[in-house]
Amino acid sequence: SAVISQKPSRDICQRGTSLTIQCQVDSQVTMMFWYRQQPGQSLTLIATANQGSEATYESGFVIDKFPISRPNLTFSTLTVSNMSPEDSSIYLCSVVSYNEQFFGPGTRLTVL
């Protein structure tokens, strides 16, 4: 199985600021994704992090708000830009490895 770590595990931020979340995988993976889980809700796919090219965003998510980097096959970052309280959520990194999809522990973000 793939072991995923995320940093930070949680943060409290002021509105208007930006936070970059890191995702590190213990093995090389082709597919890496970022999901959001709003309070008390299910998970929603934000984007696919593509290695060496721009991320592919789902409907309702844009690059200016959620820029993503994927410099190699084991690492990705998600930035939540110009934050508002509505961005308070858990952000989760996910990878596909050996035909199984794994999730990181999540980053719990609170925006005041």
Binding site: I4, Q41, S42, L43, L92
Partner: protein, 113 residues
């Protein structure tokens, strides 16, 4: 748009009972289904999956049933234990969009000792 939803948002059972968690999906193009368990403060953990060419799959203490006619998915947990208490999500995927999961709303399972 397509959605995956659950019939029951909460389920309380006694330790040792069998639990059944249900899920309905609306996209007939879905061909891969997964059940995840999410404990407080953790990311979703894979439980069991099933492909659309099957109607039943068994794991350790868990069974997933798929009824494509009515677009219904269920997770059965045998001899439920307090450690099974968590939120359970069904998710669907299509072969053409591997890794891009659509999640159901989740069911909170509480197991009483």
């Amino acid at each position: 748009g397509e959605s995956v939803g659950l019939h029951l948002p909460t389920l309380s059972v006694q330790e040792g009972d069998n639990s059944i968690i249900n899920c309905a999906y609306s996209n007939s193009a879905s061909d891969y289904f997964i059940w995840y368990k999410q404990e407080s403060g953790k990311g979703p953990q894979f439980i069991i999956d099933i492909r659309s060419n099957m109607d039943k799959r068994q794991g350790q203490r868990v069974t997933v049933l798929l009824n494509k006619t009515v677009k219904h998915l269920s997770l059965q947990i045998a001899a439920t234990q307090p450690g099974d208490s968590a939120v359970y999500f069904c998710a669907e995927n299509r072969r053409t969009s591997y890794g891009k999961l659509t999640f159901g709303q989740g069911t909170i399972l509480t197991v009483h000792p």
